[in-house]
């Protein structure tokens, strides 16, 4: 008996019994089947693979992890760094969420009595699905146009992408068709069948002109249901079984949850250094399980590549490619597991050199821009460092110019090989005492190698000393007992040398009972603060910018106006992205009367590296364009007089870049302390 001939609620009950209930049962069966399939394949193709990696502790601080997970998932916090892709993904995500919520509520409404009589929540659920579908169509449309019409360079399309877009569109379109056909044959007798609660489907019912004699109507509805249910099942089944990018739906949240909560940029030491038989990673399974999860969670979005200075300067390195190539290797090596076999732990295929080229590995400046941009918190630098460690410590394969640097650091405790006896000569003219001469100080000033040996940077140390004297802080230096902090060695991969240097420094500092350290070099700052703790060195470390900013806030420094100067601050990677110090240097500059602060296009967390990090200061740049010159071009475009820095590496690299570009007359590179010091003079000094 057709529903139109029955009273309203009886008609509704008939629809539920004949259409709804079978769908519910069918859905239940399929859902259980897919869940079982998911659990099986997750265990077989992912979990067992990750367990082959080395152990890692990533499950502490549950609340903090959950908070980030929720913020990223629902707030899309990192996605919005780029508005179009961010909006696109947000629409797709929210739309899908609304569809599922709406469907779920209506699917289970029969069991919970929400339909009879139709409660508001049931009506709202209907609207949610409709709006959700529209949002997904919108987001999906943007995605397709962006990927296939505009073809941004960071996106390489694979057949998998085509499949998910086509199938996604079909599922959405047929979903609306199912509802509009159902509405047509029930002649709109359900309360949700109106423009208020089902706008799209109702419009489709009016526009779709495919109804005829009664006997065919129900059959057509079933056809439509199948055409909707089958692709939906195919999509979910495909996602479960295949290494599709759709798997990011569960892999990315896992990766976000288990991300490292340690200080950004603080590299992990090699555990049991003395007893270890191998160092670094030659095989894919020598990475930790979390690193293997990183590889699988990558969605190939390319944000990392778009911000990598090495890639943008046409070096062979692409962080995305590193991750994807390692992932391919992982899947190839892991395949025997799928079929009940075991993996050969040793293979002829080594990841550094064969899977990831050596040129790529050495091109990395460790600026952390890649992991900063990654929406799912995948670091590529930790894999690169493991591969570098293997090459350096196991095979002694590294750029030839680095050999000398290692030797110099080992013997003379500085990368240039200059006699360490003259390390603190710059301080003698200023009467700066060493801790050996006077250990009772408020803080240790740790200038680092650049300030000790590089003429250009000695001026920065001197500025700092003058400021310290001006505010009456009692400080000392280690003098010739100061050793290189070891950062270049660690970044290049020579963990043994780094350990030796770090332990030497820590022993010296502990001997003098050092509690607080001031440094003017962000590289030293990062390693002293975040990495020396790994070897028992727990000190309070502050960078000059933090220190000077505090002094300014406390009104302990009186500034005079200087000649009007436009200044752009270049964020040092080791200060900014590594340690989140973005504002103090800007506040310092803003507080100097006469300075007009401008921001380069790539600033703050998107700042462009000077090219000196990751040990690259000590390597020749054979391939591609020069990174430092590219940064100078960005500054020239802005039209500033001065590029302010807070890092000796940046100062050196950018100064070289200015010279290479021949723009010494137009723009100068100055350290923040130098700028500040000029405005502190009794008479205003010309810059």
């Amino acid at each position: 008996m057709h529903s139109s001939h029955l009273p309203f609620w009886a008609a509704q009950q008939l629809v539920i019994d004949e259409i709804f209930l079978p769908i519910l049962i069918g859905f239940g069966v399929i859902f259980l089947g897919l869940t079982a399939l998911f659990i099986f394949f997750f265990w077989r193709t992912h979990y067992r693979l990750w367990l082959l990696g080395k152990p890692d502790r990533c499950s502490d601080q549950v609340l903090k992890r959950l908070k980030t997970l929720l913020a990223v998932t629902f707030g899309h916090v990192r996605f919005w760094k780029e508005s179009l892709p961010g909006a696109m993904h947000f629409f797709i995500f929210i739309g899908t969420l609304l569809i599922f919520l709406g469907k779920g509520i209506r699917l289970f409404s029969f069991l919970t009595g929400l339909t009879i009589p139709p409660q508001t929540i049931y009506l709202v659920a209907s609207l949610m699905s409709e709006i959700g579908g529209l949002l997904v169509l919108l987001g999906g449309g943007i995605a397709v146009v962006r990927r296939y019409a505009f073809k941004p360079s960071r996106l390489d399309s694979k057949p998998d992408d085509k499949l998910k877009y086509v199938l996604g569109f079909i599922i959405l379109i047929t979903g609306y068709l199912v509802k509009s056909y159902r509405m047509a044959i029930t002649e709109g007798t359900l309360p949700t069948d109106s423009y208020v609660w089902a706008p799209v489907s109702t419009a489709l019912t009016n526009i779709m002109f495919i109804q005829t004699s009664e006997p065919l109507n129900d059959l057509l509805v079933w056809h439509r249901v199948l055409i909707h249910a089958i692709p939906a099942t195919i999509l979910v089944g495909y996602m479960i079984v295949s290494h599709s990018s759709l798997q990011h739906l569960f892999l990315s949240p896992l990766n976000i949850y288990f991300r490292s909560l340690k200080q950004k940029g603080a590299l992990n030491p090699i555990p049991n250094f003395e007893e270890a038989e191998t160092y670094g990673a030659k095989e894919i399974f020598e990475l930790t399980w979390k690193q293997l999860l990183d590889l699988e969670a990558c969605t190939n979005c390319g944000r990392c590549q778009d911000h990598c200075p090495a890639h943008l300067s046409q070096k062979p390195l692409s962080p995305k490619k590193v991750i994807q190539d390692l992932k391919t290797n992982l899947h190839q090596r892991g395949r025997p597991l799928l079929w009940g076999g075991s993996i050969q732990k040793e293979s002829n295929n080594s990841i550094p050199g064969e899977v990831v080229s050596e040129d790529s590995l050495w091109a990395c400046t460790f600026c952390l821009n890649c992991s900063e941009q990654c929406p799912v918190f995948i670091p590529s630098y930790d894999k690169i460092i493991e591969m570098r460690r293997y090459l350096v410590l196991m095979e002694a394969r590294y750029p030839s110019e680095v050999r000398e640097v290692f030797r110099n650091m080992e013997r003379k405790s500085n990368p240039w090989g200059i006699e360490k006896g003259i390390r603190s000569d710059w301080a003698k003219d200023w009467g700066v005492k060493t801790l050996a001469e006077d250990p009772e100080v408020e803080l240790l000033y740790y200038p680092g190698c650049f300030k000790g040996f590089d003429d250009r940077n000695k001026k920065v140390a001197i500025s700092m000393v003058r400021i310290l004297r001006r505010v009456g802080v009692k400080f000392g230096i280690l003098g010739t007992e100061e050793g290189c902090c070891g950062d270049p060695a660690r970044r290049i991969g020579n963990e043994y040398l780094y350990k030796m240097l770090a332990e030497g420094n820590i022993e010296t500092m502990k001997r003098y009972r050092v509690k607080k350290i001031l440094t003017t070099c962000p590289h030293c700052y990062n390693t002293l603060k975040n990495e020396y703790t790994q070897f028992g060195g727990n000190f309070e470390v502050i960078h000059q910018t933090e220190f000077l900013n505090d002094l300014i806030q406390q009104n302990r420094l009186k500034m005079r106006e200087i000649d009007p100067t436009t200044v752009a601050y270049h964020d040092s990677c080791y200060l900014g992205r590594f340690n989140n110090i973005y504002e103090p240097p800007r506040r310092i500059l803003s507080s100097i009367p006469g300075i007009q602060l401008k921001e380069m296009e790539r600033s703050h967390h998107r700042s462009f590296c000077c090219g000196g990090g990751g040990g690259r200061m000590w390597m020749e740049e054979h391939l591609g364009k020069k990174i430092n010159e590219m940064r100078i071009d960005q500054a020239i475009k802005l039209g500033v007089h001065v590029i302010a820095t807070a890092c000796p590496y940046c100062t050196t690299m950018l100064t070289d870049g200015v010279k290479a570009r021949g723009v010494e007359e137009k723009v100068r590179v100055l350290d923040i302390s130098e700028l500040l010091e000029t405005s502190l003079a009794d008479e205003p000094k010309k810059i």
């Binding site: 499949l163 423009y195 419009a203 109804q211």
Partner: protein, 100 residues
């Protein structure tokens, strides 16, 4: 048809459709049927395409060597052509008539 719910757009749409219905000939209804069948075939073939592509990608992920790819693609393409032929025949025969 659902109650317009005092919606301006639907009054307009219904009116338009009534006008169209009065004017439209049987021939036009037939050609509308052809259009509807074509849309249906496109949707169905897109599904088949996705199913076959998914099958091929899944087999690759499960370990099928790349050297089989070309032949597999060939077989699936020819099967797709047969399925297309079937859909065309089936829909021509069974697709209901159009009532705008």
């Amino acid at each position: 048809m659902a109650e317009p719910d005092h919606c301006f757009i639907c009054y307009f749409a219904i009116g338009l459709l009534q006008v169209v219905n009065a004017l439209v000939s049987e021939e036009l209804k037939m050609s509308l049927r052809v259009v509807a069948i074509a849309i249906e075939v496109i949707i169905l073939m897109a599904m088949i395409y996705c199913f076959f592509l998914g099958l091929k990608l899944t087999l690759s992920d499960l370990g099928l060597q790349p050297r089989y790819d070309r032949f597999l693609k060939l077989v699936l393409t020819t099967l797709g052509i047969f399925i297309l032929t079937f859909f065309i025949a089936h829909l021509i025969l069974f697709y209901p008539g159009i009532i705008p």
